[in-house]
Amino acid sequence: MKPAPFDYLVARSVREAVSALAERPSQARVLAGGQSLVLEMNYRRERPALLVDINHVPGLDGIEVEGGELRVGALARHRDFEEPVARDPLGRLLERVSRHIAHPPIRARGTMVGSLAYAHPAAEWPAVAVALDARLELAGPEGVRTVRAGEFFRGPFATARRPEEMITGVRLPLLGEGSGVGFVELRRTGASFALVAALAAITVEGGVITSSRVALAGAADRPLRVRGVEEALAGDPPSDETFAGAERRAALEADPVPEPHAGVEYRRHAAGVLVRRALERAAEDLEVNS
């Protein structure tokens, strides 16, 4: 199908974009990479009256380490992460994750922030954001507010963003040397979203896991940080036995939504297996890089 008619505005600044959104909040949409929005419009599931194209707002494509954080601007594309963007293990994690998102032509245009705004329950970046408890910057008519990823995602395609707000960037904490990272996913084809994906970052000191961050995509109605797994890992060695325990716990903590290609029990099982594998990868990563 063809999209329904709309007005098109090229915003030249964040202020211009936000005031355009504020004028017609429920009818306006931000156009970033367009790799989800244009598709939704082609299906006519989305029929915005106004598109605010932010691709020409200067300064939004930055990816910089600032203090202990990586700040990613709203126009950083998936592809920009295919080479590590930081010396920290976070750079390796983002590299691995980015290579799993769709395929090269989509990655050349789609943005990390657009993926957070879209909030597909099986998308990779939202799972990264909740695992790291990233902070999103939302610019509205009254100024900028910051929302933690844990509070940002409210359900499938639902977020804490107000219709008159634009996301200008996201801040991800660095993991610190001594962390290992792993990412795995289960997908039927390269052209669709993953069925389930898992990521893990662990820090090991004196032979035991001192901290961990573990999250799943496609295992609930929103990205899921599996805190029960993280708590159980603390103080245990990074061993097969520990990871088998994490597998069982993750399967219990997952809360999959039924869908045509995978039933709830299947997804629950897959979530456990993927968490174990992500942890195994993280332990290997730590060995290789230390």
Binding site: G34, P104, A108
Partner: protein, 155 residues
């Protein structure tokens, strides 16, 4: 809206509604029907064209977004002695019905012009080829054609 873009080296000005996708503008307004449309949701890759050096889905982009930009379509490959990819596709039987071919040619043209060395990394080449769908030839001929073209382009 009035827009201007360079299409296959020629300046073209046209009047489009904002909802006109780049694919439709190329096909309907400029008569460049070499760019095909399959799924119109980013999956098949038949509509792949090169915008400012980047292979993109022209079904997931509005023509107004290409205002001031440089667009290359499959028609642009055919000038002069043709592109190494065209010769390679013929030599390796990398097409049958040809529906997917313009998309694969543009996908590969962008990738090889950026770095012909991509074909030396089997995994990267495989990943690149999964970007587009071919429902009849199969991917082996297309893979071999990519290798052959890269060899010619790397010389």
């Amino acid at each position: 809206m009035r827009i201007e873009m360079e299409v296959n080296g020629e300046r073209r000005a046209l009047e489009v509604e904002p909802r006109r996708t780049l694919a439709d503008a190329l096909r309907e307004d400029l008569g460049l029907t070499g760019t095909h449309l399959g799924c119109e949701h980013g999956v098949c890759g038949a509509c792949t064209v090169i915008v400012d050096g980047e292979a993109v889905r022209s079904c997931l982009m509005f023509a107004v977004q290409a205002d001031g930009g440089r667009v290359r379509t499959v028609e642009g490959l055919a000038s002069g002695a043709g592109h190494p990819l065209q010769r390679a596709f013929r030599a390796e039987h990398a097409l049958q019905c040809g529906f997917c071919t313009p998309g694969f040619l543009m996908l590969l043209a962008a990738a090889l012009e950026r770095d012909p060395g991509i074909v030396r990394d089997e995994e990267r080449l495989r990943e690149l080829l999964t970007s587009n769908l071919c429902r009849c030839t199969g991917y082996e001929g297309i893979r071999r054609a990519a290798l052959r073209a890269a060899e010619e382009m790397g010389r």
